[in-house]
C-alpha cells in the first residue's frame, strides 16, 4: 500500500495542472474561473441545493485530533447524443486521496454486476416474451450513509458568514470519498431486502422478487438498474417505490447500457458496441484504415521479442484495454485479445505495429 501514489502532497497548482487532463476544453478548471460566469454559478447552486436537500452534512467545530478533508469543484459541460449542450454540471467532490485507512475509512469494496450475469438475464427474455427496462438513480452516491466520522472543509463560495472557521461533519457520502461506492451499495442493498427481494448468493448484485408465481429480476450496476420479469404490475409498483425512495430517471426500455446498444423486439434481443467501436477506431487513428476479414494471420505465432524496438507502452495498454471491453459483445476477438495482452510488459513493433 505504501507504493500507492496518493497525491496527498500535491500543491493546489500541481493539482490544477493534473485536472486539466481530465476536463474537456473550455470548461473552467478552478472556482475563480467559474464564478465569473452566470451558468456555472447556477450549476453550483443546484449542486449545493441537491446536497442540502439530502441532509448530507451539518456545520460544526472540528474536534481536536480530527482532520478535515478538502473539497473541490469540478465543472463539466454535458452533451447529449447529438453533440449539443445538454447542461452545465458542477460537482462537489471530496479529496478522497487525503483520507487515511482506519481513520477516515475502513472497508471500500463494492460489487458490480458481471457481464456473464447480465447476458444470462438478457438471453432468457425473448423465450418468455419479456421486455427489459432500465432506471437510473440521480446523484446515487449522495444517498450512501457513512459509518465513519468524516469532516470536510466548507466549499469555496458557500462558506457560512462569520462561521468560516467551522467544518462540515458528513452524515451521508460525498463524491470522491473512498467509501462512497460501498456506502451507496449497502444503502440500495438494504432497500431491496426491505422490499422483499432475495439477493442471489452467487451474484450479489442480482435481486429477485417472487410473488404468486410472478417474478421480478433486478440487476444493479452502480447507479444503473436493469430489470425484467413476468408482470407489468410488478414493474409499476417497483418503479413507484424506487421513485419515492431515490430521485430516479426512468429510461424506459433498455436501449443503451455501459456503452452497449440494445435493440429489443418480439423476435429477440440484439446487443452491439457499434458506437464504441467507431470511437476506439477514431481514437487510435484507424477510422480509415484498410479492413481485414479475420483478426489474426492464420498460422501466426506470437512471442516475446527481446531485441525488438519497444513501442509506446501507454498507447499499447490503451488499445488492449479498449479491445478487452469490446469483447463484451464480441467473443470472436476474445482469444486474440488475450494473446496480445501478454506482451503488455514490453510491446514491440511485432505486437503493436503503429
Amino acid at each position: 500500500m505504501e507504493d500507492y501514489v496518493t497525491g496527498a502532497g500535491l500543491s493546489e497548482k500541481e493539482e490544477t495542472q493534473n485536472m486539466v487532463f481530465y476536463t474537456a476544453a473550455g470548461d473552467p478548471h478552478t472556482y475563480e474561473e467559474a464564478e465569473k460566469n452566470q451558468k456555472w454559478r447556477e450549476a453550483m447552486d443546484n449542486e449545493i441545493a441537491a446536497i442540502e436537500r439530502n441532509a448530507t452534512w451539518e456545520l460544526t467545530v472540528l474536534p481536536n485530533n480530527s482532520r478535515k478533508i478538502g473539497v473541490k469543484w469540478i465543472y463539466k459541460t454535458k452533451l447529449n447524443e447529438k453533440g449539443e449542450v445538454d447542461k452545465y454540471k458542477a460537482r462537489l467532490i471530496a479529496k478522497g486521496y487525503a483520507q487515511q485507512h482506519g481513520i477516515d475509512y475502513t472497508e471500500v469494496f463494492a460489487p458490480v454486476a458481471r457481464w456473464d450475469t447480465i447476458r444470462m438475464v438478457l438471453v432468457i427474455t425473448p423465450q418468455r416474451k419479456w421486455k427489459v427496462y432500465q432506471l437510473d438513480v440521480k446523484n446515487a452516491f449522495l444517498h450512501g450513509e457513512l459509518n465513519e466520522d468524516v469532516y470536510v472543509e466548507q466549499p469555496l463560495g458557500y462558506e457560512k458568514k462569520r462561521e468560516e472557521h467551522k467544518v462540515l461533519k458528513l452524515k451521508k457520502a460525498l463524491y470522491g470519498l473512498k467509501q462512497t461506492p460501498r456506502a451507496w451499495f449497502s444503502r440500495i442493498e438494504s432497500y431491496f431486502l426491505k422490499e422483499g427481494f432475495v439477493r442471489c448468493p452467487s451474484e450479489h448484485t442480482l435481486f429477485v422478487k417472487n410473488q404468486e408465481k410472478k417474478i421480478l429480476i433486478v440487476c444493479i450496476y452502480v447507479d444503473d438498474l436493469v430489470f425484467t420479469g413476468s408482470d407489468e404490475r410488478m414493474f409499476a409498483e417497483f418503479k413507484a417505490s424506487m421513485k419515492q425512495e431515490f430521485d430516479m430517471t426512468d429510461l424506459g426500455k433498455m436501449k443503451f447500457f455501459l456503452g452497449v446498444e440494445i435493440v429489443q423486439n418480439d423476435e429477440g434481443i440484439y446487443l452491439s458496441q457499434r458506437k464504441y467501436t467507431l470511437e476506439i477506431l477514431e481514437r487510435f487513428g484507424l477510422e480509415n484504415a484498410n479492413s481485414v476479414r479475420n483478426p489474426m494471420v492464420p498460422g501466426m505465432k506470437l512471442m516475446k521479442n527481446e531485441d525488438g524496438e519497444q513501442v509506446d507502452m501507454t498507447r499499447y495498454k490503451q488499445m488492449v484495454g479498449s479491445l478487452m471491453y469490446l469483447s463484451v459483445t464480441r467473443p470472436d476477438i476474445m482469444f486474440v485479445v488475450g494473446l496480445i495482452s501478454r506482451y503488455i510488459e514490453k510491446p514491440t513493433n511485432l505486437h503493436a505495429g503503429y
Binding site: 456473464d116 450475469t117 444470462m120 438475464v121 438478457l122 438471453v123 432468457i124 425473448p126 423465450q127 416474451k129 432475495v198 442471489c200 452467487s202 451474484e203 442480482l206 429477485v208 417474478i215 429480476i217 446498444e261 435493440v263 423476435e267 440484439y270 446487443l271 452491439s272 467501436t277 467507431l278 477506431l281 484507424l286 484504415a289 479492413s291 476479414r293 479475420n294 483478426p295 489474426m296 494471420v297 501466426m300 506470437l302 512471442m303 516475446k304 499499447y316 488499445m319 488492449v320 479491445l323 469483447s327 459483445t329 464480441r330 467473443p331 470472436d332 476477438i333 476474445m334 482469444f335 486474440v336 488475450g338 496480445i340 510491446p347 511485432l350 505486437h351 503493436a352 505495429g353 503503429y354
Partner: protein
C-alpha cells in the same frame, strides 16, 4: 502484419456485428458448454490456454480464454485443466440461472474433443501419466458422479471454442462466428 493493428483492422471491417439472442420456439433453455485447450500455446513459457463458451437457447452467454497457471505435460492434461475450469463456471451459472427461474433440471453437457480426458474423468483409474493432476481430477470426477455435468465428445470441426484458440482460415472462422450467434442486426 503486426498483431494489435490487425485486430483493430478486423474490428473496423466488422463494426456492424453484434450478438443476437433470438426467440427459439422449441428452446429447452438448457445450458451447454464447449471446453477446449491449446496445448503449450505460449511460445515463451509453453503453458497452455483454457477456453470455454457457454450457450443457452442458441445464444453465446459466457466465454473465456485464459492462460493456464501451470505447465501441462500432455494435451490430455491441458484439456483436463480446461474442463475443470469450465466446470467451475458451469456450477456458478447453474446457480444464477436457478435464481432467474431457469433451473437446469438435468446435468450440463460440456463438449470436449479429447477422448482421453473424458475417460479420465469417468474412470477412477490412476494412470502413471496423470497422477500428478489429482486435485482438479477429483473435482471434475465428483461433479460427473453427482450428475451436475457430463463430458461429451464432439468432433474438432464442431468445436465452437476453436474460434478462440487457433488462428483459423476464413471460412472456418466465419462459420464458427455465426454459430456463436454473432451477426449483423436483423432488419425489421
Amino acid at each position: 502484419m503486426q498483431a494489435i493493428k490487425r485486430i483493430l483492422r478486423y474490428v473496423r471491417g466488422s463494426v456492424n456485428l453484434g450478438i443476437y439472442y433470438k426467440r427459439e420456439v422449441a428452446s429447452n433453455e438448457r445450458l451447454m458448454a464447449y471446453s477446449d485447450s491449446d496445448y503449450a500455446e505460449d511460445q515463451d513459457d509453453r503453458r497452455s490456454t483454457s477456453k470455454y463458451v457457454f450457450m443457452l437457447s442458441k445464444g453465446a452467454v459466457a466465454w473465456s480464454s485464459k492462460k493456464q497457471p501451470v505447465v501441462s505435460l500432455s494435451t490430455t492434461e491441458a484439456e483436463f485443466i480446461s474442463a475443470a475450469h469450465c466446470a467451475c463456471q458451469a456450477v456458478w451459472m447453474r446457480r444464477v440461472l436457478e435464481m432467474l427461474d431457469c433451473k437446469q433440471g438435468t446435468h450440463t453437457i460440456i463438449h470436449c474433443d479429447n477422448m482421453s480426458t473424458i475417460k479420465l474423468a469417468k474412470n477412477l483409474v490412476m494412470h502413471g501419466r496423470s497422477k500428478h493432476i489429482d486435485v482438479k481430477f477429483h473435482f471434475l470426477r465428483e461433479l460427473c458422479k453427482e450428475e451436475v455435468i457430463e463430458l461429451k465428445h464432439c468432433n474438432t470441426q464442431d468445436q465452437i471454442t476453436n474460434i478462440m484458440t487457433k488462428a483459423l482460415k476464413m471460412d472456418a472462422f466465419e462459420k464458427l462466428r455465426s454459430s456463436l450467434s454473432i451477426c449483423e442486426m436483423p432488419s425489421k
